[in-house]
Amino acid sequence: MSLLLVALFILFGGALLQFAFARRTAFSRIAGPAVTVAGAVIGLIPVFRALGGHTEHLNLCWSPLLGLFFARMDALSAFFALPILIISALAAVYGAEYLKPYEGKKNLAAFWFFYNVLAGSMLLVVTACNAILFLLAWEVMSLSSFFLVIFESEEEHARRAGWTYLVATHIGTAFLLVLFCMLGAQAGTLDFEGFLASKAAAPFLSAAFLLAVIGFGTKAGFMPMHVWLPEAHPAAPSHVSAVMSGVMIKTGIYGLLRILIRLGTPPPWWGWVLVAIGAASGILGIVFALSQHDIKRLLAYSSVENVGIITAGIGIGMLGLSYGNDAMMLLGFAGALLHVLNHSIFKSLLFLGAGAVLHAAATREIDRLGGLMKRMPSTGLAFLFGSVAICGLPPLNGFLGEFLIYLASFKALTGSAALPPGCSAAGVVVIAMLALIGGLAAVCFTKAFGIIFLGEPRTEAAAHTHECGRAMRIPMLVLAALCVMVGLSGPFILTVSGIAVETLTGRNLLESAAIVPAAGLLGNIALFSMALFALTAVLLLLRARLLKNKPVTEAVTWDCGYAAPTARMQYTASSYADPVVRLFKLFLQTRKKFVSPEGLFPDKSSFSSATPDFYRERVYRPVFNAIEKSLTRLQWMQHGRLNLYILCIMVTLVVLLVWKLK
């Protein structure tokens, strides 16, 4: 019996179970997460076996519509399935407590139904080997996550976010439909295995590449197809945001890689396209992130940034493939894959942390929080680990993926003289981008962590928060521990991702000269990181000794001698980020509204700023408005007379019939 099938059966079957006991909230609360955890535990067995090199095939003679149920767990699938299962399970445990306030007010049975369907469909997406099955799973994934986004459908913003998401995801799927039809028609089969078995013309391949980039890029959040992310992720319940931002958008990266395998040796401009998209998404993503006032919106934009880093890594890897440079290829792809894994850990951790804050203080506005470290120590600790990791700083896991991508770019510069200048230029772009992102991410996450958790509470609500319960705390602390563990086990993780890269490139890399030094390098970094931890511990002990028997007193913040500081005098998130926001005002177009105090007896004055999404405001809105306007001219056809509609259908059918018979 295939364990993959069992896992899928548990997730989908368990989801249906919700309807049997829809009336009992206690049942939903326990059974929903229990099903996810059980499915994840069973599913992890074939995942680990695949990462060990044992591929599981699942070929059932059951034909949903046109496709065979043909799924397979190879190393590449397993590498993506690993975070999907772990994060879904942890977020589900968290959700059991997070959703308690909604009990009795909301249909939680439906929620857990969609949640488990989402988990199952994500697992199916990364294992499906047949285009029809893949698209079915893809659509189920999109729809179930849509219903999760509109969980709070009584709120207008949630409905609007859901609508944006639904439209964006289906535009993406439309491109995928064309892509798979093209590939299927060329190959005469809809199995991924059969795609491009025979040689295809270069324009055909390039068209397929572009369709894949747009189709999958919409899901992954490539700029400028990212507009749904900052809408949908804040609207969804936090643990759903964690799953969507942490792992669901990575299915776009997975699909892109899966198709790229089949397209053969890429021409260099494909790599360039991905590097350019990566740089644009990375830099603009983090710049938009740091100008946000809403913590979950900030995190959503930061996902765009991290997807940009991943894409740039893939781009460098592709350039390595084009120019036959093994080191660039391996380091680029391995770095991208490592960052996929790492981002899923720290991004879901940060979303869970943001959820805990929202749960406790009932606001997502960074400027209304503050001082939560004292009130929510565990959440604060976990959020700190997530923040350090997402800035890509050693000794945590975020550094590893970025390090490998850096190294791949440096290889593009210093590699053999055979590399053309164009390739080196791509390396320069990626180095500059990563360095800039490194600095900007530090601004963004010192702001998020510092303003929310440190200092004095800025509002009454923030002052009266309490730490969340155990079910919410433990998943966060587990993820924080994972940040440390992955950070310290670089060589092991690299070997695992190396196996996935082998599947990707079809080359035996583990024996190649390139991966051995890379594993050694990450070994050095692991040792270095451990030394850093040890050094910190020793110094902390020394400091404690120094302070022993010395007078240690507490007072108000000195603040240059000002005796009565209040919480309102603190620097705010907006003022903190303002200098950087101003540097990038060309892209951000932040709107500021300032009502200055006037008259001899000034009463009211106010200041507010907002940074709406540039593409949404300047590109999509005008385009969609124009489309709507032009289509309203066809409204005369929508008259509501049924007999005329039927006539129209009849006429169309007859015309088609004549056309076919001709």
Partner: protein, 305 residues
């Protein structure tokens, strides 16, 4: 084995002598101003005195404020182990260690900034905000400059770079990188024309204001960390310039030390004859550093193999 011993000696030299550099800078400034100035060893006296004192903490702060100096010191100490002295290898060296070197300072900055925000003071928030703003531009300048060096020397480790630079081929590029790194060095170490280390009570301050609330051993750690940072980033610059001389063994150790003394004097001169730039001009200066690095990179890409 001999090389390993030499590396350790170089490391220890840095750890012991780093607090000398701020003293030399201040002495130079005093000479320019016609004052006698504090003794060259003043930073040592300050550190020793502070280590013997107790501490006062703000009630607003959390453990972040207490742990930040220690984490920062650990990060800089770790970075010091990656630093070669001229052609003498660093104690720890592997391909890509230059990235780790740059990111260790990122870790230091993250925690110093977090600690500043932890006090809930508007002053310190302001300093933190400026610190991170400038570092967003200093970071690309540093890494692109290092990339140009990596290309010029054909190596990805700091040790390999500084023993493999050839001025005959890459001379002009190395001059450009040195200029870029000098700007980064001044900005990262909070010196004029970016920041004024003497004024922590004005609205112009950046680095000094972030550590306003520290006292006792914590402040000693911060002073020492700043000296080490001055040493580490300065040594990077000195190493480039020293690669023109064929220094071996203890001559390298001495060369780096003398180079750093001269660099400190140069910083003192810059601080004496220049005014601090207005805050809005600083990003332009740093953008200039980025441009210099990119130019150097273009040169080495075109003219070296």
């Amino acid at each position: 084995m001999k090389i390993a011993a030499l590396s350790i000696i170089n490391l220890l030299t840095g750890l012991v002598l780093a607090p000398l550099l701020p003293g030399i800078i201040n002495k130079t400034k005093a000479v320019f101003a016609g004052r006698r100035g504090p003794p060259v060893l003043q930073t040592y006296y300050d550190i020793l005195k502070l280590l013997r004192k107790g501490a006062v903490y703000s009630r607003t702060t959390t453990w972040i404020f207490r742990a930040a100096p220690v984490i920062g010191l650990a990060a800089v100490l770790a970075a010091m182990t990656l630093l070669p002295a001229a052609s003498a290898p660093a104690p720890v060296s592997f391909a890509g260690d230059l990235i780790l070197f740059a990111y260790c300072f990122g870790l230091l900055r993250f925690f110093l900034v977090a600690a500043a925000l932890d006090t809930g003071s508007a002053f310190e928030g302001m300093g933190a905000s400026r610190e991170v703003q400038f570092s967003t531009m200093a970071e690309p300048a540093l890494l692109l400059g290092l990339a140009a060096l990596a290309r010029a020397a054909g190596s990805l480790s700091l040790t390999g770079i500084f023993s493999g630079l050839t001025w005959q081929v890459a001379g002009p590029a190395l001059v450009l990188v040195s200029a870029a790194l000098l700007i980064v060095f001044l900005a990262e170490n909070a010196r004029i024309p970016v920041d004024d280390p003497n004024t922590h009570l004005e609205l112009t301050m950046i680095h000094e204001v972030m550590v306003l609330d520290y006292s006792g051993p914590d402040f000693a750690i911060i002073l020492y960390t700043s000296s080490l940072k001055l040493w580490a980033l300065g040594a990077l610059l000195v190493n480039i310039l020293l690669s023109v001389l064929p220094l071996r063994g203890f001559a390298a150790t001495g060369g780096v030390f003398i180079g750093l003394i001269l660099l400190s004097v140069l910083v003192g001169i810059i601080e004496s004859i220049m005014a601090r730039l207005s805050l809005l001009k600083v990003p332009q200066l740093l953008a200039g550093a980025v441009a210099l690095s990119v130019l150097a990179l273009a040169l080495v890409l075109r003219f070296t193999s």
